[in-house]
Amino acid sequence: MKILVVGGGMGGTILSNNLARRLAPELRSGKAQLTMLTASDKHMYQPGLLYLALGRMTPDELYRDQASLLEPGIELQVDPVETFELDKNQVKTKGGKTHAYDILVIATGSRPAPEMIPGLAENAEQFYTEQTAVKMFKRLQAFQGGRVVIAMGVPHKCPMAPLEITFMLHDYFKDRGIRDKVQLHYTYPVGRVHSLEPVAKWAQPEFDRLGVTYETLFNLKEVDGKNQVVKSEEGGEAKYDLLITIPAHKGMEVIEKNKLGQGGFIPTNKTKLTMEGHPNVYVIGDTTNIPISKAGSTVHYQAETLGENIAAIVKLGQPVREHDGKVFCFIEVGKDRATYAQFDYTTPPDPKPPTKAVHWFKMAYNKLYWTTARGLL
């Protein structure tokens, strides 16, 4: 059986390692083949970009060689897919190769798309790529005071990021001794400060305590860079000296070009993780259109379910369980406290008060991530 994993990010890597362990005998005997096609020979720890933007990590800490993360038995090819021919059970790569499959997994991820909002890319800082995170860090270092507006598009990667960057900016300016010269103004698309009601109920008084002002029902419409004003779909306007954005995300271009899903997000069954209409094609992580957080932990748990199911298909002829939608998100609440939100499709989150212990666990996880990618944690 030929298993083809397209994408070498968190989802593709965890899944491939999970499968390589579960199917070690089958891979050795040739009963199963496991191939990963990816666009880069490097693997990035994307949550580290938040810390990079604030000078708390450096770029080299974000990367490992992709090959170093993979179990024996996985054939890695750094040759991204350009064409999906799902009716023929095959894909074609940039390098001109054709790969046939019995089972295909698409885990190509998502990308920031600030260009969707007029004026945003040119006038706002964001931390979703190494280049823009470094640029944001330098801009923050040069900033001596004024009004900082945080504004976001949807969907965005990591729903906790808007809160985290706001709390961390508070501590960043406080540490520099200029917090009294900085007004932090937070905007949010729905009618409270976070989409999760329990998180919003906790975060709003924290904002009040820290002197962070906020404006809800604020969906980015355009940025007037000349007058330094950001405007919302709802008719609101916010003047800024420094604009920080969590931009709306889209799926990868290859998904859009192959017309696999609107906005690059593939219609996916949320419990089977199959692409709608294609029972031998699975989709995980940011690539799906499942109404769930676009976050590392989302795909971590999806990859574990899917690893178990694909291994069962090889060994038993059918999958063994449905996915429950589990998510576990750390929430940094400044430089030295954190909390978390855990939930699934049926159980809402119940975040606890932030503690230093959870923050230090997050700091440890920034290093332990490499064991997660290897499928060990």
Partner: protein, 76 residues
């Protein structure tokens, strides 16, 4: 009634049904009708409130077996 695009946001605690609607509306055509399915009764208030503020048309809200169906038309 024209055919509606269904946004099945049942079980979506985060980012939640309204955020799903906002994200999906970007790709819709003016005049297109949508129906959001939500297992969160808060959506029955949140979504019509947002539609009114932005200027889209709220067609109806009904509850069936614990699922709220909120129908709307994209107006701009």
């Amino acid at each position: 009634m024209s055919e509606r695009t269904v946004i099945d946001a049942r079980g979506s605690f985060c980012p939640g049904p309204l955020m799903e609607l906002i994200a999906r509306l970007k790709y819709g055509a003016v005049g297109e009708e949508f129906e959001v399915l939500s297992s969160d009764k808060g959506s029955a208030n949140d979504i019509p409130e947002w539609l009114k503020k932005v200027g889209h048309q709220h067609i109806e809200t009904r509850e069936e077996a614990g699922v709220w169906h909120i129908a709307l038309k994209k107006m701009k």
